[in-house]
Amino acid sequence: MGEVIVVTSGKGGVGKTTTSANIGCGLAIAGKNVVLIDADIGLRNLDVVMGLENRIVYDLVDVVEGKCRLKQALIKDKRYPTMFLLAAAQTKDKSAVSPEQMMKLCETLREEYDYIIIDCPAGIEQGFKNAIAGADRAVVVATPEVSSVRDADRIVGLLEASEIKNIRLILNRLRPDMIRRGEMMTIEDVTDILAIDVLGLVPDDESIVVSTNKGEPAVADNNSRAGQAFRNITQRIMGNEVPFMDLEETGGLMNWLKKIFRIGNGK
């Protein structure tokens, strides 16, 4: 029996879709059978982040309305043979799907796949309720900003009210240089406030922009720091213990020099 994991955040623009894409690909690279569902009906984006935008024939709404068979709507990714994408409809709105339909879909998918990753839309309305309806676990994505953490707190409350017990945090776009200067909330600041376990720490990394530009998730890029963070997250999702990466280690000439002269290590 597979597991259904919803990726959510409340606030938009904190990296839900990027996280969903990277976790999905990471699990596929690890040999798992994965379905990625874009639950953001009307504003689909997971397809472009994955580089599969030209492959969509049928979508989530077609499946729940019975316009096609489930298998027909699952888009195969040539790069990751064990991963499939179920795209969101672009021309419908959130009310085209009900929580009951999502639950039924998740039940069907979990018979055959190891992991079903649901990319939740921003907000706490119908789209959110649909996305979490069939989920066993939740991954809350937040950035170290007041607005994002505030919304994450709200989302955690709503998830708990919906009987989702396993809720874990991904802290995204961390800037170790700013944290060191005291100009960004620390990891402890955020975890003290949210009081949920950390699933992963993702540094702010240009390579995410580059990989999104190309439609190739960073998790597959061995030179990407954020990609490494997502590889670790993937391992933790599969139940393997992996130490949190040292965010300070960034490579490059300056850091190489710093390492040699042992300067700049504030701790």
Partner: protein, 83 residues
């Protein structure tokens, strides 16, 4: 102009963010609004006014606390009312 104020160490923005976040979450988690707090304040003052004269300018009633929300009030008393 506060000349010496220039040399005062300003808190870093990370600490400011944490502080603001804690306060906003206390309200969010309790489902209160600033209006509700104002109503609570004025009701408390109404009751106190039966017994004491209060210095309303330097009065401070707020919700804070690092271990769960607490109503913290600092209400300077000018004098007791005699009956």
């Amino acid at each position: 102009m506060d000349f010496f104020g220039l040399f005062k160490r300003q808190p870093k923005s990370g600490a400011i963010a944490k502080n603001r976040l804690q306060l906003v979450l206390i309200q969010d988690r309790m489902n209160t609004t600033p209006e509700l707090l104002e109503m609570l304040k004025s009701d408390i003052l109404k009751v106190l006014a039966n017994y004491v004269e209060i210095d309303e300018d330097s009065l401070d009633i707020d919700i804070n606390g690092s271990e769960g929300p607490a109503l913290v009030a600092n209400i300077p008393i000018k004098s007791w009312k005699t009956r």
